[in-house]
Point group: C2
Chain length 245, copies 2
């Protein structure tokens, strides 16, 4: 096929409109992570563009970490891989000095009315029912992280039905497989506080000991908020790194 025309505002540069068009295809689910997109030559032919213009469009999406180029193979929808990012920050070393894979234990999973800050983040009505899950992460059978997770309905209603043993330590693959929801990006907000009575007993520390609190809102490709999560972990195991310039 040849001579197809780019949609969108024609006052915008062609490379932007092509990038928008590919981004939209992904947001609509026509292309999933891992899928190969059309080659640069095909896109150029299809939309009647010069190769350089196509490359410029793709460069934008590579920069946004939506696409990934592989020299000699093709261009692919990137697999977002940050579910375990909490363990970029928390390094738990076993007696042998090697990183340990943390276990997961679900403490509660039920419907509850969403509190205000959650409802706002997930764009649902305050007090509307949502799925609430309470999870404990353990390393060497010692608790290191507690999580409060909120998921909106009806998008995640299937998540209440599935067996607990089907839920591994990584939740985002489960969201994809069981509910068809793909997490594309997230925003994290980080602070610290004293553990307090509730969490000190769960984490088996003193109430005055500091914990890191990470709030995360996860979004789909179309920017719909999918999950609200608050994680608390031992501050002394926590180390975050950032490069700034």
């Amino acid at each position: 096929m040849q001579g197809s025309v780019l949609s969108g505002d024609d006052r915008l540069p062609k490379y932007m409109r092509l990038a928008d068009s590919i981004r939209t295809e992904i947001a609509l689910g026509k292309r999933r992570p891992g899928d190969q997109i059309a080659s640069e030559a095909e896109l150029a032919m299809h939309y009647d563009l010069a190769p350089g213009t196509v490359r410029q469009a793709i460069a934008i999406l590579v920069d946004e970490r939506i696409l990934e180029r592989q020299h000699g193979k093709g261009t692919f929808v990137r697999h977002p891989r940050f579910d375990s990012s909490m363990f970029r920050f928390f390094r738990f070393l076993g007696a042998d000095g090697l990183d340990l894979e943390p276990e997961s234990r679900i403490l509660r999973r039920l419907l509850l009315p969403a509190p205000e800050h959650v409802a706002q983040a997930l764009s649902i009505d305050v007090g509307a029912d949502a799925i609430f899950m309470n999870r404990l992460r353990l390393v060497d059978s010692k608790p290191v992280l507690v999580e409060e997770i909120w998921l909106p309905l009806p998008r995640f209603s299937a998540f209440l039905e599935i067996e607990e043993r089907e839920i591994g330590p990584l939740l985002y693959p489960v969201y994809d497989r069981e509910c068809g929801q793909i997490v594309a990006r997230a925003e994290e907000y980080l602070t610290a506080e004293a553990a307090g009575v509730e969490f000190s007993s769960i984490l088996q520390i003193e109430p005055s000991e500091p914990v890191i609190v990470i709030d995360r809102i996860a979004y789909a490709y179309d920017d719909v908020a999918l999950e609200w999560r608050r994680s608390r972990g031992l501050a002394k195991e926590f180390n975050y790194h950032a490069s700034i310039r």
Copy 2:
């Protein structure tokens, strides 16, 4: 001038070698933040390259936040602006709800033998003398942040001589003006802990109250480590945001 030849390994693509060449000029101090570099057309002429190749080289440096393009005006060495980044994280609001400019009070400034972690970061000998500075940041006359700062000799020897009143709240401009040292980028490492007796008294809080600890190593354009800094601030005023994908 025309027909100049790119230096560096000629197995590398030309755009990379041009980027390297510009980066090196900046590292050597031939170009300073704010300076305008040669136009794309001039560079293309000078090195006998196609305009697209020059643009590709500049794009790399723009991506690295070393250069900045201004449509219609030119391309400039970017001003690194992150000295106040601590106050991206700590938001101190006055009674009127507006952001407050924090004051600075230097508690100590003297030569001391560098402890191991500092010496390692600054690539100097353990126990070698270095400048140590202890600084307090205040908002509304209330202490909110304590800083320990280490600077290597002989690079910063002028810093010991200058009057305290010449040192404003922002140190990096002082490093530039007084010592000719430009901070180009930094690495930050973040954790939290209980304040402890020493810092609780300085920050006027309880010893058990949590504080955020930010270690920062600042580097020049040529990747020489210029400053080691550890800042401690009230955790409850601290909020860090990150986008991940």
